[in-house]
Structures are given as C-alpha cells and as structure tokens.
C-alpha cells in the first residue's frame, strides 16, 4: 500500500514512505513539516499551495507525493534558506502585497515564476501570470506593484 519516494526538498535530499494517494501538499505539510504552502481549496483553483517542482510553479494539491519522486521541490521556506529574504519576499513586504497572508506563500512562488520567465513583464502580463492565484484581501493591486518593482524595467 505504501511506496518509498526520494526527493530534494529545499536543497536537502530526503526519503519517505507514503501512501500512493497522498497529495503532495499533504506530504509537504504533514510529513515534511513545511506548513508554509497552504490549502485553500484542494481543487487546484486557489493557488495557495503553489510550490516549484523542478523549477515549474505547480499547485501541490494537484499532484500526488509519489509523482514528485526524484524531483527538486522548492517551497516558500526554501527562499530565505541562506538567512536572507528572497527579493520577491522583500518586494511583497515593501509594497504591502499581503494582508491576511494566507495566499502569500503561493502567491510569492507564482510571482517568482512570472519574472523568471519574463524579466520585464507589463502590468497586463503580471496580472495574467497571477490569474491562477486567488487573494481575497488585497484586490491584487499591491501584489502587482510588488512584482513590477522587481521587473528589469523598474
């Protein structure tokens, strides 16, 4: 009933035995103890659980943990591993890109992907890139400001 998986989580290799049906988000939160990524819907609509799997932003409620076997997974906790905030974390702080903070870990992981793919996004491209992440507090404007502040054009 269970399978062994090995993955590199925030730079550290680990092996665990998991049920095949265990969602990646539940693996991260309850097996690996990384509660930064949040569960807002479990149906891949809200984006609060977004992490990077092999460099791609992924909603970790849409994947089973066993599918991440052999992958490099980066969560919000991995961004400031060197004791220094990631520029995107700093940008969200400076621009008040969060209120209740629940969507924030997923939002930051998505925002990083936007500028990784396009270093000088327009506001429209930023908003398009954020379409998969819901925020009920900010009205998104300060989030757009945060992402724009890291644009190469800024």
């Amino acid at each position: 009933m269970t399978r062994s998986i090995t993955l590199t989580l925030n730079g550290t290799k680990r092996t665990d035995t998991v049920e095949p049906r265990l969602l990646l988000i539940h693996y991260l939160r309850e097996v690996a103890g990384l509660t930064g990524p949040h569960i807002g819907c479990e149906t891949s609509l809200c984006g609060a659980c977004t992490v990077h799997v092999d460099g791609q932003a992924v909603k970790s409620c849409t994947m089973f943990a066993v599918q991440a076997d052999g992958s490099h997974v980066l969560t919000i906790e991995g961004l400031d591993a060197a004791g220094q905030l990631d520029p995107m974390q700093e940008a969200f702080w400076n621009e008040h890109g969060l209120q209740c903070g629940f969507c924030t870990p997923g939002m930051i992981m998505t925002a990083k992907q936007i500028v990784e793919r396009n270093p000088s996004p327009s506001d429209e491209e930023i908003r398009e890139g954020l379409q998969g992440n819901l925020c009920r507090c900010t009205g998104y404007q300060h989030i757009v400001n945060a992402v724009r502040s890291l644009s190469a054009k800024a």
Binding site: P37, H38, I39, C46, Q99, C100, F102, E128, T138, G139
Partner: protein, 777 residues
C-alpha cells in the same frame, strides 16, 4: 539598561511596512491547520446533501468499522449541547432551536448530521463516506419571495408563513412627504446572496486536559472572547476553564464574526475522546455551511420635488435569513435601515423589514454587513430619480447633501452623524476623473453608437461599531499596555486582527505617545488566557475603538511615568515627552527605560503610587463614526458580447485621520474589489430544491488579478470628533462605495436603450440579453 531606541519624527501618518509580514512572507506563521499535537485525531463532518429532508435513520457501523476510526457522534449524542447562539433580539423574533448536529430533520445543504473522528484525515473522510444516512427528501424553498407566497413549503413546520420577524421603523412624516411630492420613483433592487470566501477556511483544534478541567480551542475567528463565553455556555463548562486561541487568521470579512456549531462540536469531541482533535473545513463546506452575506430584495419608493429635493424614502426589505439565525443574522438588515438616507438631509423615512426563513445556510455579516445594501439602494435611487428628472447625477447629489455646518447631524433613522464634508471627496473625484471632459467624450461615443457610461456613488457608512447599547454583546474595546522593566512596550488588545495590520498601526500610535521606536512595541492579541476580555475585529472598529482604548491606557501610564520621573529627578515639576521625563526647572531628564526599571525595582515609591507600569483601559465609545467618500467608474459595454470594460476607477475616501497610508490603500483596494465581485460576477445560487449550485470555486466567480481595473485612490480628511485619534475606520469603505458606482455606470452606458436599472451580478450574459431586448429587462 536603556534599551529603547531613539526615535526621530512621528510614526503616525507614515507609510510604514507591516510588522506582521516577516512571518507571513516566510511561511512561518501558524494558522489553525498548521497546529500538530501528539495523538491528535482528525474530524470529518457528514453533512446533508438535501435542502430539506427527514432523517429516517443513521447507520454509523460502516464508519466505525474503518481501522483508525476513534469515534462517531450524531445528533442524539450531542442533544444536550446548548444551541448555536443568536445574539440579536428583535421584538417577536422567532428563533428555531439550532442544535449543533441535526436531530430528525435537515434544513439546508451542508447541515451537519454526524462527525467521524479518526487518526488520519484521509481515514476520517473515507469513513464519513461510508456512514449511511437514510433521508426522506422534502419540498424546499430557497427564494425568499417564493417562501413568503401562500402554500410555499414551510422551512420550519411550526411556522408555515416562513416569517421570522417583521420590523418597522419610521422617521418624520412619510405620508405628508409623499403627499407633497412632485414626483415619486419606484424600483425593485436586489443585493444577491454572496459567499465571503476567506482564503483560509474555518478550522478548529480542540484539546481537553481532564485533570485540569481545561479545554483549549484554537479557532479561526474574529471574536475569540465571544467564542469563549458562548461555547462555554453551550458545553456547560465554566467560562474560565475554556481558553480560546486565535492563531493567524486567513481572512474573515465577517464570516468569522460568529460562533459556529463546529466550535462547540470539536470541544465536545475532545472532551469525549480525551485526545486533541482537528477539524479543517473543506472549501465545499465553507461554501455550504459558513454564513453567506447580503440576500436582500428591496422595494424602494422615493418622493421628491421637481428640483430634485428628496422628500421621503420608503423601503420594503425582504431579508433572506436562511434556515437558522447565526450570531447576528436578524440584525443585519436593521443596519441597512439605519443608513437608508445615505448622505442626504431627507428627514422622512419608513422601512418595513420581513425576515424570511429559507432552506439555505444562514446569512450574516459580510464585509459592510447591511451598509452596502443601504448604500446600493439609496445611490441607485438617486440615479433613478436623476434620470426621471433629467438631472445630472452629480447635481442631484449636491442638492441633497447634508451641509457642512449641520454636524453633528441627527438623521431620520435616529443616528447622529459625527462630522462630514460630503462635497470634498466628490469634488476631488470629479477633478481626478475629469468629469466635464468625460461627459463630452460620452456624447461623442454615443454618436458613434458606443455604449460608454459614467457612474458615481457618494457613500456614507456607519463604522466603529459601536456604542454598547447598539450591539448585542458590548461595543467597547479593551487594551492593556505594559512598559516592561527594560522599557519595552507590550500592548495587549482585545481586538483580533486578521490582515488589517493592527500590529503595525497600534505600534505607531504607542510609539508616538511613549516616544519609543516602532520595534520597541509588541502588539499581542487573540489568546483569552493572555489578553483581557475584548470584543474583536469587525465593523471597521479596530483602530477607532481598540486603538482608542490603547491610547487612553497610555495616557494613564503617562501620569504614572511622570510621578516616577519626578521622584527620580527629585522635582515636582516635570513633563514627559519624546520618551524622556524632564525637570522643567533644571532641564535635567531621565529616559523611559530608567523610569520603568525604577518602577519595578521599587526601592522608593512616589506618594500613593503602586510599583510597575501597567494600565488596562476599557473604552466605551460615545457614538459610531461615519466615514464617507465618492467613487466614480467609467465603463464601456461591448454591444456584441455584453462584456463590461472598466476604463477608470477613482475612489476618494474620507476615513478621518490616516495612521498608515499604505495600509489604508490596501484596505480600499481590497474593499473595492469585493464590491466589484458582487457587482460583476459573484452570486450564491440555490435551485428550487435547495441545492447550492455554486458550491465550489469553479462555479462561484471570485475576482482574479486579470479581471479588475487599476484603482486610483485619493483621500480627504475630516477627523472624527468621537475619538481622540480622529479616525473613522476604513475596512469596509471600498465595498460600500463600489457596487452602486459601477452599476450606475453600466446603467448610464445602456441608458440610450432605455435601461433604468440592472440587478447584480451584471454578467455579460445578462447585459447581452438586455441589449438584445432593446433595453427591456
């Protein structure tokens, strides 16, 4: 010893980034679902799939047989737990007994029927699936107007008219006003059911320590102390044996201003099984069993003179209550009535509310709670009247504004507006948007056959809720301010912020008052074992009432600081300012940290003075506050698709003094976008069998980053005289100002087709059909 930092300049008024953010941006904050405890069990709740049904039988055996299942409880087990409380008490209110688990009947989709407790959340869900409930479905009714029709299915068999209450309010002489009218306009206006949809669903972790007779509830709420008092009553537990901890809360918007069945249920389960238990609401549950908002059908009649002067307003308000009363369910529409005259000096009103039971989850407070409905009503009616009289919507509003010298202003609904300058934000918004030029552009657009609209709302709101006599549970707020022996400042507020940034704004106030740096101040909240009794965060009250309570606690401390300063300086003439006590004669001074240390060391005490520097203050506000503002929206409607493009959104708000412009902007943006959500996309839809057909995020359209316009914000400042901070509150302003402004804009765009009103949400399908029908709805 002197560890406090030297501070330069005032903190209040600065764009200071938030103190609470480091834990949130690093993923290290603790929300309820992040809590783990040894031996913790997971609960899954079995809920009714029917809008109305009899429960013929429940077979728990298949669930109990799952390996890992610890217990299953049904309504029979929890029968002795007290009912879910309703805090409002209108005359003649019918209050159905709201058991925490259904007994022999279910009244709405999502009604809790049983709880399955297991060692793992997957097993709990599997076992809950296996539990067998035999239902006999019954006819249901989910539309409040249909529920009032003769012969409608009775939601509660004992009350076949489905009427929970009738409420009337009169002001002035409405009959005389209507008799004197040159013109009377009528309109049916709805404010549809909405789903608050905080990004964090609700959740509870309960722990019972039998040896201590101590129950701890970690719960995602806006009102931890109210939860403690009321859940203790429900469970028959002494109040001081229940500790409620509100960890990080992922949004509320009113939906967590409540006491829910699940909070008592998890306490009950923990006490029964003797192990900690966690319940985390799924998104589907959040949509079906956490309160909804709005649910109004309003019939307005407005009487006016030919020159646009308002004479009287009549309102028949049908409130969809759902199947039960939650904490404030029946009270919400009464707030709408209070604000029905808006910013206008009309002194004749009559309102008749009928509260209607339906087979749906209860409605209750959702961002704005009664005031968006009121503002939507009066601001739509001002445009309906302006169209009838062929007046400019700006002109008709100016004509009826309460004058600047009329404050404090006594309204026909019994309120006293604290302060106002209603033309100021309107003028600023008109100038920002370039109103005259826009009307010219609109004329040209219409000549080209384009559907361009300009809409505005000049809104007022009732905030800082509120004086205790106006609330069901006390409307004051509390603060304890402690200056520690090192001079560091700890503030414990009875507020329970969940995104509003009060850890920052309160530290700004305290920093300025005590002359210490913002990093010297720590703001603590949300644990009933640590913080003195408090009311909570809702109704745009946090800073205006909670901040004021802290302010007064600090004033008491300052007197004590001066006494210790005088002792240390051996003087009887000292002042305290900028963090130091100074002898006015010699100019010698002693810093706060030395004073604090001396007050705790207590080698010598000033006359009639106790050791230590701690003060607690409960502040009862003398009145509400009344923020206001003007929103202007420019739209263009696509004739071929019915799509609405928002070309400009200008929001000028007056929330009194501004403590932190960055946070205020964020509150306005978020509020406006929730208003846009209501105006354009969101609607909770139940079908005729009581099934919620918008039961998931897939079916319920929340605003997304790419669907909303840039919001241009501005402010005017009219301080409130109600509190010494001069603040009014801003949490709900955006939502209240938004919906009538954009609906007025789209109606204006379609007015060449003869359109006079559109109900929300203004989906492209609705607009396209309206265009196809030549403007006839």
């Amino acid at each position: 010893m002197a560890t406090t930092t030297t501070k330069t300049g005032l903190l209040v008024g600065q764009r200071i980034r938030r103190r609470e953010d480091p834990r949130l941006i690093t993923g290290t904050a603790t929300y309820v679902d992040d809590i783990q405890m040894p031996g913790m069990q997971h609960a899954c709740i079995v809920r009714s799939p029917h809008g109305a049904a009899k429960i013929k039988s429940i077979n728990v055996k298949p669930a109990l047989e799952f390996p890992g299942v610890a217990a299953v409880f049904t309504g029979k087990d929890t029968e002795k737990v007290g009912p879910v409380p309703c805090g409002s008490s209108l005359p003649g209110l019918r209050v159905p007994h709201h058991h925490i688990l259904a007994m022999d009947r279910v009244y709405f989709v999502g009604h809790p029927v049983a709880v399955v407790v297991a060692s793992d959340r997957y097993i709990a869900r599997d076992a809950a699936e296996a539990l067998e409930v035999d239902y006999e479905p019954l006819p249901a009714v989910s539309d409040p107007e249909k529920a009032l029709a003769p012969g409608a299915p009775a939601v509660h068999p004992e009350w076949p008219d489905n009427t929970a209450f009738n409420y009337h309010q009169d002001g002035g002489d409405i009959e005389k006003a209507f008799a004197a009218a040159d013109v009377i306009v009528k309109q049916r206006i709805t404010s549809q059911r909405l789903i608050p949809a905080a990004m964090e669903t609700r959740g509870v972790v309960a722990q019972w320590l039998a040896g201590d007779r101590a129950l701890t509830l970690h719960t995602s709420t806006q009102v931890p102390h109210l939860v403690r008092t009321l859940v203790a009553q429900m469970l028959g537990l002494e109040e001081n044996r229940l500790r409620v901890i509100t960890p990080e809360v992922g949004g509320g918007f009113g939906s967590k201003l409540n006491v829910y069945a699940e909070e008592a249920l998890m306490g009950f389960v923990a006490m029964k099984i003797g192990k900690p238990v966690k319940w985390i609401e799924s998104r589907r549950e959040n949509f079906t069993c956490t309160i909804h908002g709005r649910g109004h059908v309003d019939y307005f009649e407005v009487a006016a003179k030919r020159d646009g002067t308002l004479l009287g307003i009549k309102l028949k308000l049908i409130q969809d209550l759902g199947a039960y009363h939650q904490l404030l369910t029946p009270a919400i529409p009464t707030l709408s009535v209070l604000m029905m005259p808006g910013l206008y000096k009309c002194q004749n009103i009559r309102a008749d509310i009928v509260g209607v039971f339906t087979n749906a989850v209860p409605t209750d407070a959702y961002r704005g709670a009664g005031r968006p409905e009121a503002t939507h009503g009066i601001e739509r009616m001002m445009d309906v009247l302006a169209a009838e009289l062929k007046m400019d919507p700006v002109e008709i509003r100016r004509k009826n504004f309460i004058a600047n010298d009329a404050f404090p202003f006594h309204t026909a609904t019994g309120l006293v507006y604290d302060s106002g300058n209603y033309a100021a934000p309107l003028d600023k918004a008109l100038e920002t948007v370039g109103y005259k030029k826009l009307r010219q552009e609109q004329k040209e657009a219409r000549e080209q056959g384009r559907l361009m609209g300009i809409g505005l709302s000049t809104y007022g709101e009732i905030c800082a809720i509120g004086p205790s006599p106006a609330t069901p549970a006390g409307g004051w707020e509390s603060a304890t301010v402690k200056i520690e022996p090192s001079g560091k400042v700890t503030v414990m507020t009875g507020c329970s912020p969940h995104g509003q940034g009060e850890e920052t704004t309160f530290a700004q106030i305290a920093g300025d008052e005590l002359g210490v740096g913002i990093d010297d101040v720590l703001v603590v909240h949300g644990d009933t074992a640590i913080v003195q009794y408090g009311i909570g965060t809702f109704g745009s009250r946090g800073t205006a009432i909670g901040g004021t309570a802290m302010y007064f606690a600090i004033q008491e401390l300052k007197e004590k600081i001066k006494k210790y300063g005088a002792l240390l300086l051996n003087s009887d003439d000292v002042t305290f300012a900028d963090g130091v006590c100074t002898d006015n004669q010699t100019g010698k001074s002693v810093p706060l940290a030395h004073i604090a240390a001396a007050s705790y060391r207590a080698m010598k005490l000033p006359p009639n003075t106790e050791p230590g520097l701690v003060a607690t203050y409960f502040w009862e506000p003398p009145n509400f506050t009344f923020p206001f503002g003007a929103h202007i929206v420019v739209t263009e409607v696509d004739r071929d698709t019915g799509d609405i493009e928002i070309k400009r959104y200008v929001a000028v708000d007056d929330c009194g003094n501004i403590l932190n412009p960055l946070i205020v902007e964020g509150q306005v943006h978020g509020g406006v976008v929730q208003g846009l959500g209501q105006a354009l996309w969101e609607q909770a839809v139940y079908d005729d069998s009581g099934q919620l057909v918008t039961g998931e995020l897939m079916d319920y359209a929340l605003p997304k980053a790419g669907n909303i316009p840039w919001i241009e914000t501005g402010h005017t400042i009219t301080p409130s005289p109600v509190n010494p901070l001069g603040v009014k509150g801003v949490g709900e302003a955006g939502t209240i100002g938004c919906s009538p402004a954009i609906v007025n804009s789209v109606v204006d765009a379609l007015s060449p087709l003869g359109v006079r009103h559109i109900d929300m949400p203004m989906t492209p399908e609705k607009i396209w059909n309206l265009i196809q029908a030549g403007g006839r709805a």
